[in-house]
Symmetry: C2
């Protein structure tokens, strides 16, 4: 018997995941959406996976453009990720602040203060159930000046703040504060449809 | 020109990921290894991705057994994840504490106090570069009593502690402590080889 979707969703809510904004531009036009299903596959060749709901506008845009940029978010980007996850926010509204965005070589927008940006070329697409698996070659990376992350866990955002202190050399455990930014009852991927 | 592996690894170190122990049992025997490349694909049918280095013993075992269990770890499991990521730890050493382990219906070991366990049947395997992409159907899930997570970010462990308090209903930001457990210079996936 197939596992009920609700049971699966409740289980996957407990698998913490980095929050990203995936952008694309090209013949299908500009688009961007919040994605938490991004996963490293191989470092040689540099390959990563991006899963996008097939019912979303972003799926069609990335598929036609054949390029995307994965912008890995930091703790200060929870509101931005919500904007890019909204089913109703028009593309102009998503990219409404031009100061936030620059461009990668592919032409895809990159978030100026992202933790890291990965410019990618779509190598192949595998449709599985509700989602498309975009298997991408990473063609360029840009590390941000701040090394901290935004994680989605149990349907809420958590900030991961990295401390590059001398304590890091000791191997001892110590405390780092994390900011719980928001509670949301709907998973990012659900809202990204 | 291909992106240098080191650049790709440095970039992916900034993509936070849940830490899991993937177990398998069957005709190829018992095995278990630490994996941080697990990703949800689709909720209908319930499908997830597990990426395993093709040079690892775990890859061959999962491929032949055709079943696996994803044990999502909590903040107290950093040492256990290190044991299952060791290139030298024999399988008996990895599973040396029988009190920690029970079995799923598939026969794969499940960690008794995991945040969540997902029993899976391998649907297909796609080899890409250094890794195998195991596309798996989730056949059963077991939620743990504790809802907290272990995240790997910037080559270190972070605990994500979930507070189910009434504050959660307000939507206001508040502080939750996170425990930085350990610094490691080698990525989990590297040590999982």
């Amino acid at each position: 018997m197939a596992l009920p979707s609700a049971d699966y969703r409740n289980a996957m809510a407990r698998l913490g995941a980095a929050v990203t904004i995936v952008t694309t531009d090209g013949s299908a036009g500009l688009h961007g959406l919040t994605v938490s299903a991004v996963c490293s596959i191989s470092d040689n060749p540099a390959t990563l996976l991006v899963c996008i709901n097939r019912a979303s506008r972003g799926y069609a845009a990335v598929r036609e453009n054949g390029v995307l940029c994965v912008n890995v978010l930091g703790p200060g980007h929870a509101d931005l990720s919500t904007r890019f996850a909204s089913a109703t926010a028009h593309i102009d509204e998503r990219f409404s602040d031009p100061n936030l965005w620059m461009k990668m070589a592919s032409g895809c927008p990159r978030l100026r203060d992202a933790t890291v940006c990965l410019d990618c070329k779509v190598d192949r697409v595998l449709d599985v159930g509700t989602h498309g698996m975009f298997i991408c070659e990473a063609t360029d990376v840009l590390l941000g000046s701040e090394c901290s992350g935004l994680v989605y866990f149990n349907r809420g955002f958590y900030g991961v703040i990295n401390s590059k202190t001398k304590l890091a050399q000791t191997g001892l455990a110590w405390l780092v504060p994390a900011l719980r930014l928001r509670i949301s009852r709907s998973a990012i991927r659900e809202r990204g449809k």
